[in-house]
Symmetry: C2
Subunit: 347 residues, 2 copies
């Protein structure tokens, strides 16, 4: 039996609640199939307040040896600004390990009612995860003065754009063979025109995939007006960030939105985390929806090659929601939802 | 009787169709109230193909003398790239005339069914219109090579951020006294942290206005999950662009989305234009929905101080849609919808 080593970063707020739930489900899914060893790291805003940094200096090196990383949520803005906590933990991990593909599936789980009248959509969003608008390049001049100027520079490299688009084309090939590339080349004539050019070059290598080019504004509208027309969507760091929260919304809320930060070359561990944040207001109350976190476990299992266990977790989620468990905020406790998924998994 | 001078730029595609409709309605609204003189300019992609530029060199100076500018739509991507047509006409006008506030109302008109289950929302989006992510600053290095890098720099000035936020606070004060400022300061630590700081400074001057800070990703989700919680929304050029297409979507589509590019100091003319584009596929077929264009006329009248005529146009639109006219694509011709609005206006 294979044994996987797993680094656990529950993080802040409901990150802790849903990580507990996710690990219980992982335990049930592993039975008779594989083993895993978890090491938990307390890196969080609390850790920051004590140590002055979100993780130790050798944090990245410590994580490098694991087969996968599982993260609950990071952030506690009342005591640590998000710009510190996220730049000190989540974002450096994504970049250091070249987790350049952030994969987020959007569809309505059985039994879940979304805010749209539309229903039958099944979208896979692929977000570039290491550069672009979140490169962190910029500065402020004449700070605090009347003539202050703040600049923030998006940096797109050919290697960075090519690899995420190629990943998108491959995903499209494995699904319904339709790729939508999202830019804003009518207003951003350097970065986005470049992205469009690379898309056109690569499209020649994937004649079996239909490519649509859309602007981010029109795309946001489309997610709401005609989500059923979309298959695989590929977008930059910022555009993917926005579209995947929108995707979470149309699938019924952030409680259902899973996410995988993938290093497709497998030269370093990938990281799995629900899209939602730490939600300080409901932390520790046993009411957070663990479904996004559990779905992220299914993504992790798929990435590790445990396709059967991954499929079993997904079916178990839908068995629970199909019975009405966890389909609306406040309906069930975190523990009830977790128990329902495990029961389905063991049935 | 006052006479207003109006510069008309029908532009491309359905821009021409809806401008005709809008001007008919303007004529009916003016009767007995005011007069106007229109001068039409053929600046468009067709003009570009003939003259090598979207407008003459003195185009901006020509427009400067008018009381207002009305624009249909610009763009014909099959022959002129959007990055050329928009940077040659629409964007320079917004910038040259300091039309820094782009105002876009989002609510369901009487009789119109949107894609959401939610209904009772009434949002006023204020988009910064002259700088930020669409500053046009950037470049490409090692073009075409493996090591190519494209950069695009967002530029935010204190004066630019202050004036749009101040405008937002004033609008909120005149409505339900709730302002939502949209940034992404957890990932863009120069530009967006700066915007947040300026918001906090100004908030002290408007103690009667409640301010919410939201990230663009969470905000996109909110527009879909709980739009009824929003009143006035203020955002940067890019974020406002995305949110207003999303706003258009939730109000039933781009056929209903009006827009005013306002110079609040009145040091130069303001420009009124529907949010939708030129829609080449349906151009000239008498099927474009002119309601967004007509609503933009109402915004123009309000800006010119003709509050009564403005309100009359808005009521006439709702009288028509309330009877089911123009509420779904393909239901009525452009002319039928226009005639219904005029009939209501004259009733
Ligand atoms: C918290 C934030 C930095 C993060 C991001 O924008 O990447 C989050 O919104 C996400 O979508 O994972
Ligand atoms: C056409 C484009 C440049 C324009 C913009 O982004 O400003 C449009 O999308 C809009 O919203 O007015």
């Amino acid at each position: 039996m294979k044994t996987y080593s797993l680094a656990l970063i529950p993080g802040d707020g409901i990150g802790v609640d849903v990580t507990d739930a996710a690990m219980e489900v992982l335990g049930a899914a592993a039975k008779g199939r594989f083993a895993f060893e978890t090491t938990s790291f307390p890196w969080s805003c609390e850790y920051y307040l004590e140590h002055g940094s979100m993780m130790p200096e050798d944090g990245i090196e410590t994580l490098r040896g694991f087969d996968a990383i599982y993260l609950g949520a990071v952030g506690w803005p009342a005591t640590v600004p998000d710009s510190v906590s996220l730049h000190g933990l989540l974002l450096p991990i994504r970049k250091a390990f070249n987790q350049y593909a952030n994969i987020r599936p959007h569809r309505l789980l059985s039994g879940v009612e979304g805010p749209l009248k539309a229903e039958g959509f099944d979208i896979l969003c692929i977000r570039e995860n290491t550069e672009g608008e979140y490169s962190g390049a910029g500065g402020r001049v004449h700070e605090g003065k009347d003539n202050e100027v703040a600049v923030e520079t998006s940096v797109f490299t050919r290697a960075g754009v090519e690899r995420i688009l190629r990943f998108g084309f491959e995903q499209a090939r494995a699904r319904r063979k339709h790729l939508t590339s999202v830019t804003k080349s009518n207003a951003q004539k350097y970065s986005m025109v470049f992205w469009d050019e690379v898309t056109r070059e690569l499209a020649a290598e994937y004649p079996d995939v239909t490519v649509s080019h859309m602007h981010i504004d029109a795309m946001a509208a489309k997610m709401v007006m005609a989500p059923q027309d979309l298959d695989v969507v590929v977008a930059s760091n910022l555009f993917g960030d926005i579209l995947t929260d929108l995707g979470a919304a149309i699938q019924g809320g952030l409680g259902f939105a899973a996410s995988a930060n993938i290093n497709p070359d497998r030269s370093a561990p990938s990281m799995f985390e629900p899209v939602h944040g730490s939600a300080p207001d409901i932390a520790g109350k046993n009411i957070a929806n663990p479904i996004a976190a559990i779905w992220s476990v299914a993504q992790m299992l798929e990435h590790l090659g445990e396709a059967e266990a991954s499929a079993a977790v997904l079916s178990a989620i839908e068995a629970a929601t199909g019975k009405g468990i966890g389909i609306r905020p406040g309906l069930n406790t975190t523990q009830e939802i977790t128990a329902a998924v495990i029961a389905a998994l063991e049935a």
